[in-house]
């Protein structure tokens, strides 16, 4: 019992964060962040300049002084209310509302159908449900372009081609495979005994879905809403093919603003329109980023 001695902490205190390896990590993060933030910075400051400042000034430097009678927000006002494509000079705002009218029903209908289908596939197996599910998976890998022409014919025959309804319809249909997969896998990851308990309690198909499963589905619902809102808002192809000229969504309009060769090229207005178009998905990501990651972890990747 003589030779043991308790060892106290000794030696220099460990450095908190300025170790070489840490410096490397932070340097990498800073450089990566700059790489993505720098273009955004250019877009933002350019959108607040007038054309004279863009022509004469330094591209990296914001405009601080505005001539008499002009304002810093003038390009934004022009982008929203006045910018022209062809002969039409109503700005991008009508197309913003087109995008809203396309996105909201597409998101609601596709998720409502997919959640029901996914739930049925996972908990109420029927004779060919496995085969049906396989077809669904294969379906989610078919490139959209393959289905484009058939869909044009289909919507034409339905009498909705060149309307907002056509775009809503197409988005809903094409969203279903991946969303159904998402919901089926999520419901399959819930304990099957929960479903059994609800059945013993006498709950039927809809009651189990609405009162037992739906309140547990917040993480996956968030994922689905984000996927659909951003996907549909950012869509260009279906908008340009199915909407028809007055119904173009914001993305198509934005492209038309860029490619319009009429008159002077208004970089500041184009930048403002770009930010306005990207604002919705950006806001969604910022507001729900935490839930998005949680939802992905909660079962989106489980087979």
């Amino acid at each position: 019992m003589s030779d043991i001695s308790i060892m106290e902490p000794s030696g220099p205190k460990p450095k908190l964060w300025l170790e070489p390896s840490r410096i490397g990590v932070y340097a990498f993060l800073v450089i990566t962040a700059l790489y993505f933030l720098f273009p955004l910075y250019i877009v933002i400051i350019t959108s607040f300049k007038d054309l004279a400042a863009i022509r004469d000034g330094n591209i990296f430097w914001p405009q601080l002084v505005y001539p008499e009678g002009t304002h810093w927000y003038d390009p934004w006002y022009r982008a929203w209310f006045e910018v022209c494509t062809g002969l039409e000079c109503k700005g991008i705002s009508p197309n913003f509302w087109n995008s809203v009218i396309i996105t909201v029903p597409s998101v609601i209908v596709s998720i409502a159908v997919a959640i029901t289908t996914g739930y049925a596939l996972s908990n109420w197996p029927f004779k060919f449900s496995e085969g049906f599910f396989t077809i669904l998976i294969v379906g989610s890998f078919v490139p959209y372009q393959v289905m484009l022409y058939p869909m044009v014919l289909l919507t034409k025959n339905m009498g909705i081609y060149s309307t907002l309804s056509a775009v809503v319809f197409v988005h809903t249909v094409f969203g279903l495979p991946i969303l159904t997969l998402l919901f089926r896998n999520y419901f399959a990851s819930l304990p099957v005994e929960l479903f059994k308990a609800a059945r013993v309690d006498g709950a039927g198909f809809w009651r189990i879905l609405l009162q037992v499963f739906l309140p547990m589905s917040l993480p996956i619902l968030t994922v689905a809403v984000i996927l659909q809102v951003t996907g549909i808002w950012n869509d260009f192809l279906f908008g340009v093919v199915f909407a028809g000229l007055p119904n173009y969504p914001m993305t198509v309009k934005l492209n038309n603003i860029f490619t319009s060769t009429f008159g002077v090229k208004e970089y500041n207005v184009e930048m403002a329109a770009t930010i306005l178009t990207g604002a919705v998905p950006l806001a969604i990501y910022f507001l729900s980023g935490k839930y998005f990651v949680r939802g992905i972890a909660a079962g989106a990747v489980k087979g």
């Binding site: 304990p191 005994e193 059994k196 308990a197 013993v200 709950a203 009162q211």
Partner: protein, 370 residues
């Protein structure tokens, strides 16, 4: 009130029940009658079909063949809710977003029962299970034992004829398991409902059951009260599955027949005159099954015990109340349970006697009890 006396009006009956998934047969033409108020335990290793049988009775699985009757009514094609059953699951399966009170009342609300009646029943169930202080909590705020109480309560409020338990204690730690086991037994004594209980734990089976159905490969191997199962196992499988430490199996052969038959073990012989044979004994390769507590080490001859065999002590395992001694007899290993004040050393030479009146003899080829 014995089980057989009430069997003319069984609570649950299963006839020719079979369940298969493709080529895999999980249940094979199974028959079972459960008396009113009986506590029956389906016991077996995983994959023996016990949970499948329970799910078929509950109506959560449609059997491939066969029919299920509850209180004389054919319920084979009825929904679970119309069968008069309540079920308790291993993972508790409480609705996570609902409070305990809402969990208990969910089934009643589904059936459209008046509010006052629901409140009355929830109150009664929570009193019986002592979960009144928990009613406002969510399941995530409960301990494992509390969750399982709530799960039992969910079956209780529905005032069912038959309680089905699917390994309800397997997710709990040993101490809590023992506590809840007693509570389930008390609940059964108080309510007198028919209870069907699935487990792979033989202690749960032996302590709770009026009758145990030992299952293997989709069939019931033996259906008897716990003591019969323990003392007179029908075959080698049941004998080996029940009992811890498990029964010793000594290979040998029967010589002679009837009351004069003997079991030849190595160079020695065991007279079988004290063994109550189910069938007339005749010469054949067979297995002598003796439980560790039915082996006497270094004792005088007593009634029902065999002549002494020479044995060598291999290992001694003290277990507190008694000790387990591993021995080598005639080239075969066996374990004997001895009083802890009897001291043995490894390598020691001892005499062992088998209490033949309490032993079992099995046919080696078929594995059936003789």
């Amino acid at each position: 009130m014995t089980a057989t006396a009430k069997m003319d009006k069984p609570s649950v009956s299963v006839r020719g029940l079979a369940q298969s998934y493709g080529a895999l047969q999980v249940l094979k033409a199974l028959d079972l009658d459960i008396a009113d108020g009986e506590f029956i335990v389906l016991l077996g290793p995983s994959g023996c079909g016990k949970s499948t049988l329970l799910n078929c009775i509950a109506g959560l699985l449609e059997p491939t063949e066969g029919q299920v009757f509850i209180r004389g009514k054919n319920v084979t094609w009825e929904e679970p809710k119309d069968r008069g059953i309540g079920m308790v699951f291993q993972s508790y399966a409480l609705y996570p977003q609902m409070t305990v009170e809402r969990n208990l009342s969910f089934g009643l609300r589904v059936s459209g029962m008046p509010k006052e009646e629901i409140a009355k029943r929830v109150k009664r169930a929570s009193e019986i299970l002592q979960i009144e202080p928990l009613l406002a909590r969510k399941p995530s705020q409960l301990s494992g034992g509390q969750r399982q109480r709530v799960a039992i309560g969910r079956a209780l409020v529905r005032d069912v004829d038959v309680f089905l338990f699917d390994e309800p204690l397997s997710n709990l730690d040993a101490k809590l398991r023992a506590e809840l086991r007693v509570e389930i037994k008390r609940l059964h004594q108080r309510l007198g409902n028919t209870m069907i209980y699935v487990t792979h734990d033989q202690i749960e089976a032996l302590t709770l059951a009026d009758r145990i159905a030992v299952m293997k490969g989709g069939t019931i191997q033996q259906l008897d009260d716990p003591l019969t199962i323990y003392n007179k196992p029908k075959n080698l499988y049941v004998a080996g599955f029940i009992g811890s430490p498990s029964m010793n199996f000594l290979k040998g052969k029967i010589e002679g027949s009837g009351k004069t038959a003997t079991f030849k073990l190595g160079s020695g012989k065991v007279a079988l005159k004290d063994y109550e044979a189910a069938v007339p004994l005749k010469p054949a390769a067979s297995v002598l099954g003796v439980r560790p507590e039915h082996i006497r080490v270094n004792t005088e001859k007593e009634d029902g015990a065999s002549e002494a065999f020479k044995a060598i002590v291999d290992i001694v395992e003290p277990m507190g109340s008694d000790s387990l001694v591993w021995l080598k007899v005639e080239g075969q290993q066996l374990s004997a349970r001895v009083e802890s004040n009897q001291h043995f050393d490894p390598g020691q030479k001892v005499d062992v006697r088998f209490r033949i009146n309490l032993a079992s003899v099995f046919d080696e080829a078929s594995g059936d009890r003789l």
